[in-house]
């Protein structure tokens, strides 16, 4: 059962398993564990970006296709649904039409990009995607009559997924992890009081419904991609990554495989874009198409660990948490060093990107294979030591981060 769900591709590291379980539980029970709206938004974004980053990993990590047009496909999804709703009014029919338009547009553009430029060298493909993505962003900015230009579009979602809708009349109870942990550290003698304070009421609005749409979308799409990467198709992609020349000599028409990969990633990202528009209820070039966002997606993929799928989950979660909460942390730290010249300038909430850059450099330096790759490496080393320095074992190279295990290890 579990083998079929995870497609035989286990985390293969106890620490990683634990991290993934924590992320899964936090996302699954999100609205019932974190009372703040900011946490709610962050968790929803993590669900959506898991799909965005995982589909980028399919290209970058599994097939070695470097594309800078990933945000373009994300934007296509977001704008498709936003524009259809803007012109047709808010209904589920309009959303359906938006999804259809998004999928068709993404497929057509990805096919074109793939067939036109995957025949040429990888660097040219990267440059072509960059050019197309910028052209698309300019187009969206210029066609302000339909796209809203730089102001973007407000997305009026149907009532059932809006804040005014109540799925259940009565409120449910949530248990605030943050309050609980805070209380546990500051007044552990008052445990009963702390627990009582941690309980809060949750109104099950359409926003919560929308959150769970994002959650199940993220979960199923992630598992779908995990399955695909462990299918015969996915194995061919890895072969292309390792040695395209040889894959061709075996009879694999690599142009088709690479094009299929680009289309797959484009469609899944466009779908994620649709959900982003519906969850965020506001679409503009900055939050969907910006080059900065593209770089962030790349970072999430690399930090998490390329070619591992699970890296997308860890990378997206870590990055979005840092993006949303590193500023708070810096504000707190900034309070301590106020008045100290230079240092206070360095430790301000607006400096979060600087500190994130430092974290990124450190993580790439110490975890060149990404977090997931490194955790698996450590787990392999530990297993090998446990096996007892057997000559034959130490001779064997570690199974790399990207290596699917034929036999799942408990």
């Amino acid at each position: 059962m579990l083998n079929a769900i995870l497609s035989g591709d286990y985390p293969r590291s106890r620490v990683l398993t634990a991290v993934l379980l924590v992320i899964l539980i936090c996302l699954a029970l999100g609205p019932f564990l974190f009372p703040s709206t900011r946490a709610f938004t962050t968790l929803g974004m993590i669900c959506i970006f898991i799909v965005v980053v995982a589909s980028y990993d399919v290209m970058l990590g599994y097939t070695h296709i470097v594309s800078f047009a990933h945000t373009m496909f994300f934007g296509i999804g977001a704008y498709a649904v936003a524009m259809v709703i803007a012109s047709m009014g808010s209904s589920f029919g309009a959303i359906g039409l938006g999804v259809l338009a998004a999928v068709l547009a993404a497929t057509a553009l990805a096919l074109l990009l793939g067939l036109l430029s995957l025949r040429v060298k990888a660097i040219f493909f990267a440059l072509v995607t960059l050019a197309v993505a910028f052209a698309f962003m300019t187009l969206v900015n210029q066609l302000y009559t339909v796209t809203g230009g730089e102001d973007g579009l407000r997305v009026r979602v149907p009532r059932e997924i809006g804040p005014a809708f109540r799925l259940i009349e009565n409120d449910l109870y949530g248990f605030s992890i943050t309050t609980f942990l805070g209380g546990l550290f500051t007044q552990p003698w008052n445990l009963g009081e702390v627990i009582r304070e941690s309980v809060y009421s949750v109104r099950v609005t359409g926003r919560v419904v929308m959150y769970y749409v994002c959650f199940f979308f993220g979960l199923t799409m992630f598992l779908l991609m995990l399955r695909m990467m462990n299918s015969p198709f996915g194995r061919v992609l890895q072969a292309i990554r390792e040695n395209e020349f040889r894959a061709e000599a075996l009879g694999y028409k690599t142009v088709y495989y690479r094009t299929a990969t680009v289309v797959l990633a484009a469609v899944l990202t466009a779908l994620a874009g649709v959900l982003f528009a519906l969850f965020n209820r506001y679409v503009n070039p900055e939050n969907t198409l910006d080059f900065e966002l593209m770089v962030f997606i790349l970072l999430m993929c690399v930090i998490g660990g390329m070619g591992t799928m699970y890296g997308a989950v860890v990378g997206a979660a870590l990055f979005l948490l840092a993006e949303n909460y590193l500023q708070d942390l810096l504000a707190v730290l900034g309070g301590y060093v106020e008045g100290v010249p230079l240092v206070s300038g360095l430790v301000g909430p607006e400096r979060w990107l600087l500190w994130f850059g430092v974290l990124f450099v450190l993580s790439v330096y110490f975890f060149p294979k990404g977090i997931v790759g490194q955790l698996r490496l450590w787990a392999d080393e530990r297993r090998r030591r446990a096996a007892g320095g057997d000559e034959d074992q130490s001779d064997r190279l570690q199974q790399g981060a990207t290596q699917p295990a034929e036999q799942p290890k408990g």
Binding site: P232, G234, E242, F245, R246, L250, G251, R396, Q403, E406
Partner: protein
């Protein structure tokens, strides 16, 4: 040789690299059930000719025909699909995948499972078992789950051969299969090639420098020199011909033989 038209044929096959004719108007036909060795000094154009036949290079002029069909303009994967199997001279594998996965990819190519998005590759026991069979034929089954990058050179050469076997091609193209192997590993590969020759009615092309190997295995020897075909015939006759003595074998080889 039979009078019917050959299964694999190159016709005036030529490639020109900026004025240098690496392969120059080479015409040669091959029949099933024969092992042809291609010999010639380094730079004679043996590997280039192989690349033209299996599609890694596109000919400047001339044709390649397989089963009467002109395949000159087909891509390498299309030719592999039609039965041209190639093992490479410089080891050319998937370094960060396991030994088993390398062969499994070859078997899967033969079974055309590549566009299966849904099934788990690890559930295709039939393909994995086939791959293991080929690995045991080259005595690599004990190293199935090693990463290729960490294999000794000799084992990488064996794996190269196993992948060619796994393709079950109509034409086996071996490019110096025993180069760099230790003395005791060579017979494994030679026995395999002899075995294909004995049991399967296929075309086998072999680029090889070791003359004793060439002499014992070949039904026919083709000599290339400066991109041109200079001799073609029975082993004994070709080896004895003055042009080969001069162009390829040279004095030291003569003394050894």
């Amino acid at each position: 040789m039979t009078s019917q038209s050959p299964v694999l044929e190159t016709e005036e096959l030529t490639i020109n690299f900026g004025g240098h004719y690496a392969v120059n108007r080479v015409s040669c036909g091959f029949f099933p059930g024969t092992l042809t060795s291609i010999v010639g000094p380094n730079g004679a154009g043996k590997t280039t000719w192989f690349n033209l036949i299996s599609g890694q290079l596109q000919a400047t002029s001339g044709n390649v025909r397989l089963f009467g069909e002109d395949i000159t303009r087909l891509s390498a994967p299309a030719r592999a699909d039609k039965g041209l199997g190639r093992a490479f001279q410089l080891t050319n594998l998937f370094p960060n995948l396991t030994v088993l996965e390398n062969v499994r990819l070859a078997v899967a190519a033969r079974h055309r499972t590549g566009y299966n998005f849904w099934q788990m590759a690890s559930r295709r026991r039939d393909i994995i078992d086939r791959a293991m069979e080929y690995l045991s034929q080259v005595q690599l089954d004990k190293r199935a789950d090693y990463l290729v990058a960490g294999l000794p050179h000799g084992d990488q050469r064996k794996l190269e051969v196993a992948m060619l076997l796994a393709l079950e091609p109509e034409v086996f193209m071996f490019d110096e299969p025993t180069a760099g192997m230790s003395v005791d590993e060579v017979p494994v590969i030679l026995d395999l090639i002899a075995d294909i020759k004995r049991r399967q009615d296929k075309i086998i092309l072999l680029v090889e420098h070791k003359m004793d190997v060439v002499r014992s295995l070949s039904d026919r020897i083709v000599v290339l020199h400066n991109g041109e075909l200079v001799a073609d015939g029975e082993p004994a006759e070709v080896i004895a011909s003055p042009i080969v003595q001069e162009a390829y074998l040279g004095a030291p080889q003569q003394a050894a033989s």
